[in-house]
Symmetry: C2
Subunit: 305 residues, 2 copies
């Protein structure tokens, strides 16, 4: 286990109790590298994992695996298992609905008016007149697209491959990206970070949204070109951005993103893994992998997620 050091003892006991057939060890107390068959990690240890000569699989404590892929030379060529689960999906659904509604109903202006003690009424369009575009239609993206549709929004989805979602107009692949973006008022990025999706939130993309659109990024910091975002906010091409993920986390105190009046910064909390249910999912995945059973969270190495 190579995890958040403040909680690692708790994790050790939690996982050991769920995995009685495994011998769980903390990274700095792992004994012989050759003993280690399974590595449960969030960020890579500094020296990587290649020294673990008998490694059979790596478990990433999160839905993304890009944090492992920063230096592929340090990651041995073994299967990688992500960690998903119903609670992760539920929390993401809550965050995305909250912030799409917040932008839709212009809550930021309502809060500002209160701080000025001003009674300022305005009618916003109903959700059906607001086009929300969801980029990424995996478990999380699909659940959010459905929830937004149930709230009454006009929802579109875009992903690498074809998807069918009742009541949601879907688009597949780079060739249909322009059609997907056209007319989008609120764009939600839930893509996995791959070489194809890096920097996808850039000036050219912003220019294809409805003028004054808003962007919500719950994918990865690497999806966003920050300089392009600041330019689009300052020109008015975009009205607001809600950012939960950043190239460097925690976001450094001197980042200009913190205090930009049109940016809401949230500290990578859209969908945190609750250690209790996250631990159960990790244990279940490891047991299925060890028994040679199919593992839903197994990463497809060709896709990279």
């Amino acid at each position: 286990l190579h995890l958040n050091s403040a909680r690692e003892q708790w994790w050790l006991e939690h996982l050991q109790s769920l995995l009685p057939d495994f011998d769980c060890r903390l990274w700095h107390d792992r004994g012989n590298d050759a003993d280690i068959e399974y590595a449960v990690v969030w960020r890579l240890p500094e020296q990587g994992l290649t020294q673990l000569s008998n490694l059979k699989c790596i478990v990433s404590v999160g839905a993304g695996i890009d944090q492992l892929m920063g230096n592929r030379l340090l990651v041995p060529d073994v299967p990688i298992i992500r960690t998903t689960g119903a609670e992760l999906t539920q929390r993401m659904r809550e965050y995305v609905c909250l912030h799409v509604l917040r932008v839709h109903r212009d809550l930021d202006s309502v809060i500002r008016a209160q701080s000025e003690q001003r009674w300022r009424q305005s009618v916003t369009p109903v959700a059906g007149q607001r086009q929300v575009g969801v980029m990424g239609l995996g478990n999380l993206g699909r659940a959010c697209a459905v929830a937004l549709r149930e709230l009454g929004f006009s929802v579109r989805g875009w992903a690498r491959s074809e998807h069918q979602i009742d009541g949601v107009q879907t688009f597949a692949g780079p060739a249909s990206l322009d059609a997907f973006l056209s007319g989008t008022d609120i764009l939600v990025c839930m893509l996995p970070l791959t070489t194809q999706t890096e920097n996808i939130l850039n000036n050219s993309l912003f220019g294809q949204l409805t003028p004054g659109a808003s962007v919500i990024n719950v994918g990865r910091g690497g999806h966003l070109n920050e300089a392009d975002l600041l330019g689009a906010l300052n020109s008015g091409q975009l009205s607001s951005a809600t950012l939960d993920v950043f190239r460097e986390e925690p976001l450094p105190p001197d980042s200009t993103l913190w205090s930009h009046p049109k940016i809401m910064v949230t500290p990578h909390i859209a969908s945190m893994i609750d250690p209790l249910s996250g631990g159960q999912r990790i244990a279940q995945n490891l047991q299925q992998f060890k028994a040679g059973q199919p593992v839903d969270d197994l990463v497809n190495p060709d896709r990279g997620y």
Copy 2:
């Protein structure tokens, strides 16, 4: 028509175009009182409506009629028609979901942390572990209860009479109020204002919620005992209040509610009537009433809503 004076000319033309068989007149230009058969009003004119000797019906431009009932002596004993409609329901659903999610995910603290440039992560329980209580299960209350359930919340509903809503535990009448309140983490008041519901949000009610609960009032200002609310917020019995309606509107600039750190004030915008679709609903109701057809929005005088 006795409406918002800034827009009355627009309303006159809009309603006249939708009601070619009616002769629409503004209040201050109405000619003989005896000519008037239908009165479309928001607040009562100062002298009331009793001088209209041939009045057949009053239309209230809103879902509530309590603003007409402040002095019943000024309201002739004729049928009253409210104004509801799909857009009103949709906007209310958006507002209630937005603010329940805001409270649930503690967005106020997230915003505060950003203003202090602090990266402060915390995991909130999933919605299923949060009990939301909806008071009032008319068109609006029912739609909100269903939407909250679809978002994953554990939802209860309370109303004067029995209601059945899939997946929502319902309670009817004063005798079951205590059972309904017990364990409620977020309480949403969507009741009509009647002599039975006035001041229902008081100290005794707050004391029956989960300690640290939050209250959202989208009913009427008269539902809330403000002194009791301030006491419950200051003692910690309540964590927050979100108020869209007030005893005096606009909320006076010197009200202490504006600047209380645990209160969000919104200027009666939960569900505004859009003049376009609201006018269509009013015209449809008047035409059905004139033709002797049933009118969904007709007020039941025994219930008072």
